[in-house]
């Protein structure tokens, strides 16, 4: 049966080509129509194929389609082929769906921007690259998509390139990502070197034969892959680019830096679960790094005043969660959280975009407040998303976050410490998110009068996507209701065939899946406990930022050191500057001023002057007259013939 998978990636590509090649010649309406329609159709096609996938028997849910042979080089062959299995189906639906909503939203948000056409061109290219990444059936093709999204991220962060901070942020994102990509690439080399193929199926099938569980090679390979993931998904130590990436248009932040691209790392690890399961050390590193990132980003978010930066750190924090899930071998939970997070974080960003739109570009929360009345639709949807991210029962975030917390407690790779850190982060999350909500939507307006008069609700084209996302943020979690709450965790079951690492390795699958050894009671207790703690955090936020703002100020003053540390984002950028960038610049300066000027140039100039001297000596031969040359030809002939005669 032909599923025409290629349509999913071809449509956005067509949109990109059409918009890109006719850039500046199409009317805005047409541009946005092409862009939205291509992504929308791609999404529709994805849904169609998804249902075809569902119709298949559970064990055989995978559609593979080879378009052409990309690199045929002897033994090594890479096909341009696509794979649509449960894991990629989820990703396709999330990516295409969220992209489509954000495309619609962008029509309103970017309406007055001179770069309208360029914006949608980039956006379509991004969707193409992201879908390629997700649908690839081998690592090399995935890497193509991986680089493609990196490129689009660079282009879109620096979309307003005339602004220096924006173009700098774009470059920073690109460079930081390159470091991760480099690791990723080396990881791929190691895999290819050992396995001889980059096809998922081949690699996963042959991995158990080739690698020893916990062996050095597989650990190194997976660590390098994880390095790539940290770059793309903004984890310690490569997270520094994401907050700066907020220089891009807000829908871009929502699409790329919240919902899709940054989750590529999580997707990649989930996809490579077989490999990661064979390297427990790496798993531990992943879990620790994930949780550390989550905690650190959450604390930083406490002290930020820029609405988008808060959300950016929140994103980093949530991504940390997903990695933590992966680190405790709960890949399905990670993907689950990825999905719900895509909904509510996109919603949060879009909501903040709506706010910023109304505030005429103002992003500092200290100058906001009381927007509830002016922007009811934005407020309601934003509030729903906040509840979701905070983990209030009934909203999608609750299910996924709780799943992760439980897994980090109960999994073979988990421990109570991990759980405790995760819980603490969750509490912080609830706190800073409600701080954000209270500062923005409640209380008195602190903006100037001009802005105040300007306040308005965003147009329909922006609010409708918000509502759609709000609905998704609520119901998105119900696909994965855990057993303990009477559900059957269908999401995990759906993904189960892909998670071959869990039931193909040394571990017995039942052991991990049912978390034997821990009773349902424990799970329920922990769940309730965490909810209670989160509610308390919300109350604290309410008390500090709405009831008693002075207290917040006093606390800040009393803990000025801590606040400065948090506000300054732990000075990671500065540390990097001192430890890496400055030595690099100094080293480069040394290379330039000393090595290059004296040694290299010396050699080059010396050679040049030697050559010059020789040519000055020989130059008289070059008279420029024909007869001399003819004479030389004759002389050459004489010598040559003479040689052959004498020989």
């Amino acid at each position: 049966m032909n599923h025409s998978l290629y349509l999913i990636i071809l449509l956005p590509l067509l949109g990109f080509l059409l918009n890109g090649l006719l850039l500046g010649r199409l009317k805005k309406g047409f541009v946005s129509f092409i862009a939205c329609a291509s992504v929308g159709l791609s999404f529709v096609w994805g849904v169609k194929v998804f249902f075809e996938l569902l119709a298949m028997p559970e064990g055989a849910r995978a559609i593979q389609e080879t378009l052409f042979t990309w690199i045929p080089a002897g033994q090594f062959q890479v096909d341009f082929s696509l794979l649509f299995d449960p894991l990629s189906s989820v990703m396709v639906l999330v990516v295409a769906g969220v992209s489509f909503i954000i495309h619609i939203y962008s029509i309103g948000y970017m309406h007055d921007d001179p770069g309208f056409g360029r914006y949608f061109t980039y956006l379509n290219l991004f969707v193409f690259a992201m879908l390629t990444l997700v649908l690839a059936d081998n690592y090399l093709l995935m890497f193509v998509g991986w680089e493609g999204v990196g490129l689009c991220s660079y282009l879109l962060i620096g979309f307003w390139f005339e602004k220096k901070s924006a173009s700098d942020a774009g470059k920073k994102a690109f460079i930081v990502n390159r470091i991760g990509d480099f690791g990723f690439l080396i990881g791929l080399f190691i895999i290819f070197w050992q396995v001889g193929s980059l096809n998922y199926a081949d690699v996963f099938a042959r991995a158990p034969e080739v690698f020893a569980v916990g062996g050095g090679v597989i650990t190194a390979a997976t660590l390098l892959l994880f390095l790539g993931a940290t770059g793309k998904s903004a984890q310690i130590p490569l997270f520094v680019w994401l907050p700066d990436a907020m220089e891009g248009p807000t829908p871009v932040s929502a699409l790329i830096h919240a919902a899709t691209m940054v989750t590529a790392g999580v997707y990649m690890i989930a996809r490579s679960n077989v490999l990661f399961m064979m390297a427990p050390t790496t798993l531990a590193v992943v879990a620790i790094v994930g949780l550390a990132t989550a905690l650190m980003a959450a604390t930083i978010a406490l002290a930020q005043n820029d609405i988008k930066r808060v959300l950016a750190y929140s994103t980093i924090s949530q991504l940390g969660y997903m990695f933590a899930a992966c680190g405790v071998a709960a890949f399905a939970a990670g993907i689950f959280h990825l999905m719900t997070h895509a909904f509510f974080k996109a919603l949060l960003f879009l909501g903040s975009g709506s706010v910023i739109h109304a505030m005429a570009g103002q992003q500092d929360m200290r100058y906001m407040g009381g927007l509830k009345k002016q922007q009811p639709a934005t407020f309601v949807t934003f509030f729903i998303a906040t509840l979701a991210i905070a983990g209030i029962p009934g909203f999608s975030g609750f299910f996924s976050k709780d799943e992760i917390l439980w897994k980090s407690f109960s999994s073979d790779f988990g421990s109570p410490i991990l759980w405790a850190v995760g819980l603490f982060t969750a509490i912080l999350t609830a706190f800073y998110m409600f701080r954000l909500v209270y500062l923005t939507f409640y209380g008195e307006g602190r903006m100037d009068n001009h802005t105040k008069a300007h306040l308005h609700e965003s147009p329909k084209v922006m609010t409708v996507p918000l509502m759609v996302l709000a609905v998704l943020s609520v119901i998105g979690g119900y696909v994965g209701i855990p057993h303990v709450l009477g559900g059957s965790n269908r999401f995990e079951q759906f993904l189960h065939p892909v998670m071959t690492g869990l039931h193909g390795g040394a571990d017995t699958s039942e052991h991990v899946l049912t978390s034997a050894g821990h009773s349902a009671g424990t799970e329920l207790t922990l769940m309730i406990g965490s909810v209670v703690l989160i509610l308390i955090a919300i109350y604290m936020a309410y008390y500090l930022y709405l009831k008693n703002i002075d207290l917040a100020g006093r606390i800040r003053n009393n803990l000025s050191g801590v606040h400065a540390l948090l506000h300054g984002k732990y000075f990671v950028d500065e540390i990097y500057g001192a430890l890496i960038i400055r030595p690099l610049i100094n080293g480069s300066l040394f290379l330039w001023k000393i090595i290059d000027v004296f040694v290299i140039d010396g050699i080059a100039n010396g050679l040049a002057s030697i050559v010059g001297d020789i040519s000055t000596g020989v130059r008289p031969v070059q008279t420029g007259t024909m007869r001399t040359y003819a004479t030389m030809i004759l002389a050459g002939a004489v010598v040559l013939i003479g040689y052959f005669i004498i020989r």
Binding site: T623, G624, T625, M626, R627, A630, T631, L634
Partner: protein, 100 residues
Amino acid sequence: MIPIAHYLILGGLLFAIGAVGVIVSRNLIVMFMSIELMLNAANLAIIAFSRSLNLMDGHVFVFLIMAVAAAEAAVGLAIIIAIFRNRETINADKFNLLRR
């Protein structure tokens, strides 16, 4: 019967004279004629070989060489005319732009 070598040596001599003409003469046209002479010297050798091998193919070669020579003469003379229009001379020693 004259030995074939005689014809060949005659051809060689004519060729050498043509070569002298090319490198000694300053007149572009004479240089050009010397080249034609060299071509013909080669033709003579080819005809001689053709006779000695009792193969007609050499005649075809000569025929083709003549055609090429005719083409060459047409283009070459056109070039000489163009040069003369520009420089008012066809003294080969006056053309040393290649030097720079």
